[in-house]
């Protein structure tokens, strides 16, 4: 039983790491801010989500598992808001550019 759980954890955390890698490559290679944001949110949401999912069966009690989920939700909320703010800033700058 514990072997199955361990394999699940490794697979999920591995998938999470893959998304972080993909997100980082995108952050470095994509041409403009909006596409880079898109890459970053993949790492934040999917990558971190998979890592939390993988760690859940390893948590010693229900409370620790709940804390992990809460951390994931808070990171989602923070990351989503930050992305929105950055994107909004970029859009307003673009709007001003043709006039300048």
């Amino acid at each position: 039983m514990s072997l199955v759980v361990d394999i699940f954890t490794m697979a999920a955390v591995g998938a999470g790491l893959f998304f972080f890698l993909a997100g980082t490559v995108g952050l470095l290679r994509f041409p403009d801010t909006l596409t880079r944001l898109h890459a970053l949110t993949k790492a934040d949401n999917l990558g971190f989500g998979f890592i939390v999912l993988g760690l859940l069966p390893q948590s010693p009690d229900v409370l620790t598992g709940l804390k992990l989920v809460v951390v994931w939700l808070l990171v989602q909320l923070g990351a989503a808001t930050a992305s929105q703010l950055i994107a909004q800033f970029v859009r307003s700058e673009r709007r001003h550019e043709p006039a300048a």
Partner: protein, 310 residues
């Protein structure tokens, strides 16, 4: 085996620190400073110093970074940007900084054998105070005077910021913290996050007695929630002449001082606690301190008054 992640972390910290010093733009340097603070808190985690890691993340990464960003925004852009100090001055600065770095490195790299530590003695008396977190025991019992003076320094810092207020605005409110363009996402965050954040802040303060956490970390989280609400334009910063505000600012140090002087009658002297009531006294002092820290940090970021009192 476990050396590789640590090595990577150290390299990251050094790279970020060098970038912070080398980068020319003021705001980029502040962002670098925030990154260094967050990386340092990871390093403290690796050293099992969770209390220090929490403080570093909250103060070093968060509050100080925000203060510096605000300071950047206030500075006139032309100031000292094009004027470099004389060559001799720069060489002297570099030399002095190197001397400090080498001296610190020499002290850290040549540890005393056996290591000089008071940890065992500090842990021996923890039971008498009814606390489970040795850091809190040191902060509020053994070195209570240091902690008290730290909080007084915070009050002095706020008075220092307030003295920058022009005469016409004295007593008024600081400039609004809201973003130049309103954002639905930010407003949403400022409505959803504070209830969670306040619970986490209080949890950190309450938990500080037995587990990592404490007044500074919890107070900073509370301040962050308040600042978020002000930045989303849901609340304006309060006028600095308000009596309630000023009372909250000095509440922590005053309660700490009262508890300290009470020690003359109910215990063995200044800032000592009677064993039977040690825990309740410390919890009350911590709660008052955290509230003051939250208000002071919020008002420090808001800055001096910029509007005439209404």
């Amino acid at each position: 085996m476990n050396l590789l992640p640590d090595l990577a972390l150290v390299l990251l910290i050094l790279t970020a620190a060098i970038w912070t010093v080398a980068v020319r733009d003021r705001r980029d340097a502040v962002i670098g400073f925030i990154v260094v603070g967050l990386l340092l808190s990871l390093a403290w985690m690796r050293l099992n110093a969770v209390d220090v890691a929490l403080t570093e993340a909250a103060i070093g990464g968060g509050a100080t970074g925000l203060l510096l960003l605000r300071a950047c925004a206030r500075l006139v852009p032309t100031q000292a940007e094009s004027v470099l100090p004389r060559l001799s001055m720069r060489i002297m600065t570099g030399l002095l900084c190197s001397v400090i770095a080498v001296g610190l490195a020499a002290i850290v790299l040549t540890p005393v054998e056996p290591p000089a530590t008071l940890a065992a003695e500090a842990a021996a008396n923890m039971g008498e105070l009814g606390l489970g977190n040795p850091i809190t025991v040191v902060l509020l019992a053994y070195r209570a005077l240091d902690t008290l003076l730290e909080k007084v320094v915070l009050v002095l810092a706020l008075i220092g910021v307030w003295t920058l207020t022009p005469d016409v605005f004295w007593g008024g409110a600081p400039a609004s913290l809201r973003a130049q363009q309103s954002s639905g996402a930010l407003t949403f965050l400022a409505q959803v996050l504070p209830p969670v954040g306040v619970v986490i802040g209080v949890y950190l303060i309450w938990n500080g007695a037995d587990h990592p956490g404490g007044t500074f970390q919890g107070g900073t989280v509370l301040a962050a929630m308040w600042l978020l609400v002000m930045m989303a334009n849901l609340r304006e910063p309060p006028e600095i002449r308000l009596r309630t505000l000023r009372l909250l600012v000095v509440l922590g140090p005053v309660v700490f001082l009262v508890a300290g002087f009470a020690g003359f009658w109910i215990a063995n002297g200044f800032l000592s606690y009677p064993p039977a009531f040690a825990k309740p006294i410390i919890v009350i002092v911590e709660a008052a301190l955290a509230l003051s820290i939250a208000v002071i940090l919020g008002m420090l970021v808001a800055g001096p008054a910029a509007r005439a009192p209404r």
